[in-house]
Amino acid sequence: MQSAVIVFPASNCDRDAATALEKITGHKPLMVWHEETTLPKVDFVIIPGGFSYGDYLRSGAIAARSPIVQDIIKKAGTGLPVAGFCNGFQILTEAGLLPGALMRNKGLRFVCRPQKLQVVNTQTMFTSGYNNEEEITVPIAHFDGNYYADDDTLKKLKRTGRILFKYVDNPNGSQNDIAGISNQAGNVLGMMPHPERAIDPLHGGTGGIALFKSIVEAVQ
């Protein structure tokens, strides 16, 4: 399985993502600079966490307009699996690949801690390796993680099983405790928690491994 990690100025989880991909897929991912206009041929793309463009204007706003993201939008439209973690989730909503927006945390604090999540829907390419309603612990580290969408969108997400992860103890004010969602076709995932930081017991837990294994299984 060949994968790619997109690198923006001030991405800071790109290497964590690469390490997780290499450990679980057995192949080093391609690191793709945001100014590239064409994605190499890959089976899976991660938009990593960080503070792309210093969070200027809005978190993820500038990165979402970068050349490489335009190609990701195109290829995601034809089924390429894409996952955005933390800032990657913000970029995916800004790019219009996922509905809603990530706003300032309700408590107005940067929240950085291990977070309990519930896997809500296991019938997806990103979550098939989890048990239904399984609780996992994955780190969160964000200032703008407060998920907002209008009522119709929230109802639609719920009805169509597109809420993949929920917070067990809502850390940021997200509507309906939403921690991660997918697009309608099911090939784009965005989540605020960092599964790429939860793949080694030495780092405090391995709750993220099943996510990567699910993707490997889906694309091979």
């Binding site: 307009r65 809603g100 927006a101 706003m103 408590g107 907002y148 004010g173």
Partner: protein, 82 residues
């Protein structure tokens, strides 16, 4: 000419920063404040003479980048300079 763009959260969207500002003003004794909303202002210098074209251009800029219309509203003000 100049375009001044005011961007703020839509009225139905919770604004925790605005709420904190209102609370802080109340602590300082400003009892008359019932609500605060925080937004931002962006000023653009434009190299054009045509106000209508400028307005259309800035409207496009707001939709494509400057505002996130999922959560934000914007108002555009065009200021002609001497």
């Amino acid at each position: 000419m100049k375009a001044i763009i005011h961007i703020g959260l839509k009225s139905g969207v919770l604004d925790p920063q605005g709420r904190t500002i209102a609370r802080s003003l109340a602590h300082l004794g400003f009892d008359s404040v019932t609500k605060a909303r925080q937004g931002k202002t962006i000023e653009l210098d434009l190299d054009t003479e045509d106000v209508d074209i400028a307005k259309l251009d800035v409207e496009k800029m707001c939709k494509q980048l400057l505002a996130n219309t999922v959560i934000e509203d914007y108002q555009i003000e065009i200021v002609e300079q001497d």
